[in-house]
Amino acid sequence: MRSDLIDNAMAVSGACIRCLVYTILALPAVLVIVSSFTSGETMNFPPAGFSLRWYQKVWENDLFMSALWTSTYVAVLVALVALVIGFASAFAINRFSFPGKAFLQGLAFSPLIVPAVVLGIGLLQLFAGLGLTRTIYPLLLGHLVLAIPYVMRTILASLALQQRVLEEAAMNLRATPLQVIRRITLPLILPGLLSAAIFAFVTSFGNVTVSAFLTYGGKVTLPVQIFAYVDTSYDPLVAAVSSIMILVTLSVILTIERLIGAERLA
């Protein structure tokens, strides 16, 4: 290989850019965690002293605690329902050919091209018309729509990687189709299913762009509560709540990474 000035310039600038990129990507989360341990009254940098008092305040704050509960509850439900719907649809798309298959596939990924604001107000209008804004359904269904593409992608990838031979062997041994799915297919793609469910959980748990519209008079999720709070005030309480969210998200990503590896995470 030939080395010259341009090569070196490119290597150096590339290294600088990468350094900058990783710093920028990690900095907000790191600073949120650092600031949450302040013992001061206000958000200053560097934080004054060290204490866990803001975490205690979160624990005592009904608004944030009930929002955390709502978020968790909705996210778990979304994960479960998305998993069932996602598996059924992905299985059908992967294993069978039927009229309208391309349409189904396109439909599954269509939520990705609709801007969140548009989906949010569309759903708000629909559910307001149905008189359902005080129930949990708008949030649940809105998050499901958002989660479907990610769930489908993960399960479709798992199904595509799986060896059909084992299923065929089971069928040769006179296993019924249901037995094959339950004893062969599901256990084989279990890591994919789990990570799909976790993807759905994070999508729902962290969403604010659609949720912001779907809490009208009803329940509020944690990110929306944070949004409303930050819109008017700015104190370490939010830093503590946000750190909790970071912790949840981080542990979830690490779990997926364990299940399917960093390679397929992307």
């Binding site: 290989m1 030939r2 341009i6 090569d7 490119m10 290597a11 600038s13 990129v21 990783y22 920028i24 990507l25 990690a26 900095l27 907000p28 989360a29 949120v32 958000m43 200053n44 940098f45 719907i85 996602g86 189904l104 439909l107 599954a108 939520p111 091209i113 609709v114 801007p115 604001v117 548009v118 989906l119 107000i121 569309g122 759903l123 209008q125 809105g142 499901l144 729509v145 479907i148 593409p149 992608r153 962290g206 604010v208 762009t209 912001a212 519209f213 944690l222 990110p223 949004f227 930050v230 700015y234 830093a239 946000s242 969210m245 998200t249 981080l250 690490l254 960093a262 995470l265 992307a266």
Partner: protein, 274 residues
């Protein structure tokens, strides 16, 4: 799934489209069919300037993401798996983390008593804290950070498919890295670049949390305008019309990039590789 997506995606969109053709400034006020909302939007210079600024912002954000995201995505694709692990985690983290948390982190960074100010004052670069928030560049920086992972991942997924042997061959033929980059890597990576660019652009023009929290009242983007219109003023017909302007612009941009690529790259595998 079909029921869910039709009921909760297609139906709301159609309902919204219907409302955007209503006259008046309240949902229940009028009936009938009129293009008033659209005419008002496009004839008011305030709205059109917000629209144009939103597009310019989106374009600049996508461009910055491309320039700094490409080298990162490239290196990520060429690294051995062991070195890739924690870097991938850093890239994925902002995607999965709630947007408000990320934006709140930026308030700590850019705030008056924030990270950047205290750093600059301590280093003696500026004598007293400056105001970085509520400016357009601040909003754009935050948008870049939010959507950069999409660019990095798109570039990365396409680079992994390019055989490193091609680069070695170019080097053997005495091409320097820049020539190899320009003549070999870029042309082959075009699909990934377009997918990334498209995603970042569409996401940026529909942003509303970031302009609202980082930009305050001074930086208005189309997304935050829609949010105001619907949630504060309850002016549904007007908000719905704006939402459709936004939606159609995004689709048009995607279609334009598609046409440019001359293939089904973007709607085809690219979307699925997301």
């Amino acid at each position: 799934m079909v029921l869910l997506l039709i009921g909760c995606l297609v139906v709301p969109l159609l309902g919204l489209l219907r409302s955007s053709f209503l006259p008046g400034s309240h949902l229940l006020e009028g009936s009938g069919f009129t293009l008033d909302q659209y005419v008002r939007f496009f004839s008011d210079s305030y709205y059109t300037s917000v629209l144009v600024e939103t597009f310019i912002d989106g374009f600049i954000v996508s461009l910055i993401c491309l320039v700094i995201g490409f080298p990162t995505g490239y290196s990520l694709a060429r690294l051995p798996p062991s070195a890739r692990r924690w870097r991938t985690l850093i890239v994925i983290m902002p995607l999965t983390l709630s947007l408000v948390v990320v934006v709140f982190g930026w308030l700590i960074i850019l705030g008056r008593n924030g990270f950047v100010n205290s750093l600059l004052v301590t280093l003696g670069i500026i004598p007293s804290p400056r105001i970085f928030l509520f400016t357009r560049p601040a909003v754009m920086i935050v948008l870049v950070q939010q959507f950069l992972p999409f660019m990095i991942l798109s570039v990365m997924s396409v680079i992994t498919q390019i055989d490193p042997v091609l680069e070695q061959a170019a080097a053997n033929l005495r091409a320097n890295r820049f020539t190899t980059f320009r003549r070999i890597i870029i042309p082959l990576a075009v699909p990934g670049i377009l997918v990334g660019f498209n995603l970042v652009f569409v996401l940026s023009i529909s942003a509303f949390i970031t302009p609202r929290l980082i930009g305050g009242n001074r930086v208005v983007m189309l997304g935050s305008l829609i949010y105001e219109r619907i949630m504060s003023e309850l002016n549904w017909p007007s908000g719905a019309a704006m939402a459709f302007v936004l939606f159609v612009s995004g689709l048009a941009f995607t279609a334009a990039l598609n046409a440019m690529a001359g293939s089904r790259i973007i709607t085809g595998r690219g979307r699925y590789a997301l």
